[in-house]
């Protein structure tokens, strides 16, 4: 298995704030990589660097063997890199189908409009939004908007999919549904990086996990290794005893 993405020594600053410090990892094709860490650790910033929204102060990003550091987001989309947004950003004035069609039109395959509509309908069926296709995106609820983000990204037929907290705000059955979808996408051969705070999901689904804290990689490994890492527990997961106490206390 070859690496689809190589991140080497990425450093990103905002004024005096060091949001990322020398982040380095390789991502083999076909895997799901979990990206976790406390709030403000730099996870979303890392996505923004990978897909060209920010250029890093140091370091390089290679995607499918090509150096893509500083490339514009739209070039990367054409090259097969898609993402969802932590705070959903549907194209509110367009219908659900139009949203997804746009994804297909301008994504990797750069489809003609007619074909793009077909793809959009397939993807909507797959993601479970088919009956809402004619609705305006603005009228969807939170869970549906998350699905729409996914659908739009998928319609671009990416090689690599960056998912930023697609499970946040979903109830547990919705979460289960979404996890199933993510698995299916992976099974179709798409590589995935997933930022998530819902532990039962990340631990379940990731092949590997990277933990960021204050912009630094503090741990890396299989879900089991990471979950057992004391630094991770201290900085991120919290003492299991605290949870127990909370539940018990009257």
């Amino acid at each position: 298995m070859s690496a689809i993405l190589n991140v080497e020594g990425i450093t990103k600053r905002f004024g005096g704030l060091q949001a990322l410090t020398k982040v380095t990892f390789d991502l083999p094709e076909g895997q799901i990589l979990g990206l976790i860490g406390p709030n403000g650790a730099g996870k979303t910033t890392l996505f923004n660097v990978i897909n060209g929204i920010y250029s890093p102060e140091e370091g390089r990003v290679h995607f499918r063997g090509k150096d893509i550091t500083g490339h514009k987001p739209y070039h990367l989309s054409r090259m097969g890199l898609a993402r969802t947004h932590q705070i959903v950003r549907p194209l509110n004035g367009l219908t659900v189908r139009e949203n997804v069609t746009a994804g297909a039109c301008f994504g990797r395959e750069n489809q003609k409009l007619g074909r793009a509509v077909q793809i959009a309908d397939e993807v909507l069926e797959f993601i479970g939004l088919a009956e809402r296709a004619e609705q305006l995106a603005s009228s969807l609820n939170v869970a549906q908007k998350k699905r729409l983000e996914m659908a739009r990204a998928l319609a671009s037929r990416p090689y690599l999919l960056l998912l930023d907290e697609v499970l946040a705000g979903l109830n547990s059955s919705e979460i289960d549904g979404m996890i199933a979808i993510v698995r299916k996408i992976r099974d179709q051969g798409v590589t995935i990086i997933m930022i998530e705070h819902v532990m039962k999901a990340v631990m379940n689904i990731s092949d590997r996990i990277i933990v960021l804290d204050y912009g630094q990689q503090i741990a890396e490994g299989t879900p089991q290794q990471v979950a057992a890492d004391t630094r991770v527990i201290e900085a991120y997961l919290g003492d299991p005893k605290l949870a127990e106490r909370l539940m018990k206390e009257e």
């Binding site: 705070i87 869970a143 919705e174 705070h197 909370l246």
Partner: protein, 236 residues
């Protein structure tokens, strides 16, 4: 005593009806939670209670007085405070200025200093980021700020829409813990949560909203123990 009573409220967006008769009662100094599937209408209910949406019918009583036609800002002045879905921060203002804006009502102003200390203690990250523009905070940091700003208002009733959204597990634990502390300081809390298990665990009383109707209610213990509730409404 019931501090806030919502009776049979209907409401919606434009011509689309979302709430079909929702009701709940908040007992003073209790932590009540409201759960329900995505799209059940929880956010819509909070917005209606707060006055951001006009109730089509039904009544909302605050300390026994009808409250349904009172505009949002008057409610806030009276001590009904909402930490809204989507956070609604003053993105161009700094963290501290946001917190200041939280403390605009008459009761909160004199306590500004104390409250500021209290929220900085709850969210040390906010102290670190005190002079950063709210719009550039990370998702979770923004959530912290929204909750902190709500607390700054010295609320009588604090309604929080999706407290744990986007927060790291450790922080979620700490936050639920803090809620219990808050309750002790005399704040009545209405919590909307997707993390049902945790929410029910810390709350005193619970409501289940389904398709715009209040389907079930009861002390949280009872709800947790009811197998039917667990599978049908809580997805556990």
């Amino acid at each position: 005593m019931a501090i806030l009573e919502i009776r049979d409220v209907t409401s919606g967006y434009g011509e689309v009806q979302i709430l079909w008769g929702a009701g709940l009662t908040l007992e003073e100094n209790k932590l009540t939670c409201l759960v329900g599937a995505n799209g059940a209408g929880k956010t819509t209910l909070l917005r209606t209670v707060m006055g951001l949406l006009r109730p089509w019918s039904g009544s909302i009583l605050f300390e026994g007085k009808d409250f349904s036609r009172v505009p949002a800002h008057t409610k806030a002045e009276m001590g009904l405070v909402l930490v809204p879905e989507g956070r609604q921060l003053f993105t161009d203002m700094t963290v501290v200025e946001n917190l200041e804006m939280g403390a605009t009502n008459r009761r909160s102003r004199p306590k500004f200093k104390d409250n500021l200390e209290r929220v900085f203690e709850m969210f040390p990250r906010m102290k670190e980021r005190a002079n950063q523009k709210a719009g550039t905070l990370s998702g979770g940091e923004q959530q912290m700020l929204a909750v902190a700003r709500g607390i700054m208002a010295e609320p009588r009733v604090l309604m929080i829409d999706e407290l744990s959204l986007g927060l790291a597990p450790l922080l979620v634990l700490q936050l639920f813990d803090s809620l219990k502390q808050l309750k002790k300081t005399g704040i009545t809390i209405l919590l909307v949560e997707q993390n049902v298990q945790m929410a029910l665990a810390v709350s005193d009383y619970g409501y289940v909203l389904s398709q715009g109707r209040s389907e079930l209610e009861g002390p949280t213990r009872q709800l947790m123990d009811n197998q039917h509730v667990r599978t049908a409404y809580l997805g556990l």
